[in-house]
């Protein structure tokens, strides 16, 4: 609707001054409400109107930077001496003291406080405040608690390019330090920029390693000398072995010569029990096990080639990937191979052929961990492929107990040093399993996801309470296990003994049965062979055997065919004869 007002002016009146005059207001438009519009609407009663009287909030996330702490100590020195007196000078200090003692204030105060002090002392001696009023109650049994493990600290590889933590070793005294060896075991993944350093960490300080070890090549394994806590040996990726003395700095004190060292990465080094405490031996996938003495690293004192046929043939040799040595059995040691066999050896044998005593096979892949049970040295644990197996020395055919096949590879494992039936394993999906054989045998008692990447190494401290595991990105996690899993239970030893013996007996019986069955078969096949030998030549080459088998097959087929033909003929002739008979009969009937 347009509201228009027309204003006209004569042309002749243009330019004339304006004469304004008042006039009353004029109503131009009045739009009244249209009641018919109401019909389009419905009144709404009641009406819901939300209101909120609350503070407006916004959410922000903040993550602080890792707090670096450093502990520093302050040395308190006696202070307060006036400037003119040198506190080191005995004379001056004594003179000063004497002066103070002569002061009247001093005397009064001392006398006053002295009487106060005496009063309190007498109070103490009058009543025995530490007297036991109630007899000590018997410590109640530890309540059955869920087994658990708690992460105490996480040590990360400080370098930009992360390497795998492949070797761990606890400090022998008090275990306040952990040595971690970093390397890259994947084929040719080590880049030029990758740092070679390995570190010794102080458990309390995860920010910065306490000491750096600088080898010539990446360290695959690292061990503290149990007799001398300052000495460490490490096996390198290039086959050499280096030894460090922590008092002498980060560079190795000595390295083994390249010509006499291994040709493949040194996967394991173990210190030996000896009077001098300087012997150790090393193993590598090049098929050799070498013995060394720290004092003379230029060449090994002894060599052993892991040839299962005992001929010392390097081409046949098995690659060693783990070693086992118990100080309680110093003449024997075991080697776990890449091919999945465990070779048990005797150190004191006279000839190299006699060194290898026997082999245990049963695994499908390299044996990453091998350890005797600290309480039952006859039983040992192997961790390889997807299972962990427990073996008894006497039974060579198979393991006595084994875990189920897991979804991922098992990478490392060890027994608990305080409980005979407990062992730990780590997996490639970053899980740590704690197995308690007296509690549950099919599944781990506790399964803990430590990190997202694979775990590669595991080491339990001697008190059984702490364990460290190293992962693919170089993160070493320190875990504390609940007391239930690291205190010896009542009759645990007896139960574990019974269990191992029972399983060993079972395997023995099975072995005996197998042997019997094999003997029977052999004797049977020998008998039949004897009969045949009368007709046929004894030695048949495989080709002859094949030809013979073919011949026999065709003979049988022909025989069957002929038989069928004969039967058909018979039935035909029968049918014919019957026909004839019936025809005759008919003929007879007709006639």
């Amino acid at each position: 609707m347009e509201i228009v007002y027309v204003y006209t002016k004569k042309r002749s009146e243009f330019g004339r001054q304006c004469n304004f005059s008042d006039r009353p207001a004029e109503l131009h438009v009045d739009i009244l409400p249209d009641p018919s519009q109401m019909d389009n609407y419905i009144e709404r009663n009641p009406c819901d109107t939300p209101t909120q009287c609350a503070q407006e909030m916004s959410e922000h996330e903040v993550n602080t930077e890792r707090f670096q702490t450093e502990t520093r100590g302050i040395n308190h020195v006696e202070g307060g001496w006036p400037k003119d007196i040198n506190p080191q000078e005995m004379e001056q200090t004594i003179r000063y003291r004497k002066k103070v003692e002569k002061d009247e204030n001093y005397i009064n105060t001392v006398l006053q406080l002295g009487s106060l002090m005496e009063h309190c002392i007498k109070q103490n001696t009058a009543i025995d405040i530490y007297q036991q009023y109630f007899e000590e109650e018997e410590a109640s049994e530890v309540a059955e608690e869920q087994p658990s493990a708690k992460t105490i600290n996480v040590f990360r590889d400080p370098n930009e390019i992360k390497r795998t933590a492949t070797g761990l070793s606890w400090h022998p005294d008090g275990a306040k330090k952990l040595a971690v060896a970093y390397s890259s075991l994947e084929f040719q993944r080590a880049t030029k920029d990758m740092s070679f350093d390995s570190y010794i960490w102080d458990i309390e300080n995860p920010d910065k390693p306490e000491m750096t070890l600088k080898p010539v090549s990446l360290l695959v394994c690292l061990e503290y000398n149990p007799k001398d806590s300052h000495v460490l040996i490490g096996g390198c990726y290039n086959g050499q072995i280096a030894y460090w003395d922590t008092r002498k700095g980060s560079q190795p004190v000595e390295m083994s010569t390249v010509e006499h060292s291994h040709r493949d990465p040194v996967y394991k080094v173990i210190w030996l029990q000896s009077k001098t405490g300087t012997d150790y031996f090393s193993a590598s996938t090049d098929g050799h096990v070498l013995w060394w003495d720290i004092r003379k690293m230029s060449e090994p004192t002894e060599r052993l080639i892991l040839d299962p046929s005992r001929k010392g043939n390097l081409d046949n040799a098995l690659g060693a990937i783990s070693l086992e040595f118990e100080t309680t059995m110093p003449t024997k040691f075991m080697v776990g191979t890449e091919q999945g066999q465990v070779v048990s050896c005797n150190r004191k044998a006279k000839t190299p052929a006699e060194k290898i005593v026997c082999t245990y096979s049963g695994h499908h892949g390299p044996i990453y961990a091998l350890q005797r049970n600290p309480f039952f040295p006859k039983n040992f644990l192997t961790v390889a492929d997807w299972t962990a197996r427990i073996w008894s020395e006497e039974i060579k055919e198979s393991s006595i107990m084994w875990t189920k096949y897991h979804m991922t590879y098992l990478t490392d494992g060890c027994w608990s040093p305080v409980r005979p039936a407990v062992f730990f394993t780590t997996r490639m999906d970053g899980t740590l399993d704690v197995w308690d054989l007296l509690f549950k045998q099919n599944d781990p008692t506790l399964s803990l996801k430590v990190c997202d990447e694979s775990l590669y190494s595991l080491r339990v401290q001697d008190n059984g309470r702490f364990l460290a595991c190293g992962s693919q990105l170089g993160t070493t996690t320190l875990l504390e296990i609940s007391p239930g899993l690291c205190t010896l239970q009542r009759n645990e030893k007896a139960l574990a003994t019974a269990m191992f013996e029972r399983e060993t007996k079972r395997e023995k019986i099975l072995e005996a049965r197998h042997r019997e069955m094999r003997l029977k078969e052999r004797s049977r096949s020998e008998q039949s062979k004897e009969e045949e030998a009368k007709d046929v030549d004894t030695e048949e080459s495989s080709e002859d055997l094949v030809a013979r088998a073919e011949k026999e097959f065709f003979e049988v087929v022909e025989f069957e065919l002929k038989k069928r033909e004969r039967e058909e003929e018979k039935s035909q002739s029968k049918a014919d004869s019957e026909k004839e008979v019936s025809e005759e009969k008919e003929a007879q009937d007709l006639s």
């Binding site: 105060t109 002392i121 103490n124």
Partner: protein, 105 residues
Amino acid sequence: SSQSEVEETLKRIQSHKGVIGTIVVNAEGIPIRTTLDNSTTVQYAGLLHQLTMKARSTVRDIDPQNDLTFLRIRSKKHEIMVAPGKFALLLSLLFFVIYLLNPDI
């Protein structure tokens, strides 16, 4: 003389059953008299001085008319007793530090 009285008092205190050591320290933290070795003395003097000041200020904060007369610290192995001197005379703040051994151990 009064000096000998002081000697006597200190000796008497030291001779009580269970007392391990006595230290007399002045306001500047200088041990005037001690029956313990120097490093231990210095350590105790430094630590307890601060604690006593804190205790005193606590008492005064609660009630300004009040003042700390004695401080006992009992631990598993010992008891430390501190008698602070007259704080009004800032120049000579003396306190005694005595250890009492638990006689049962």
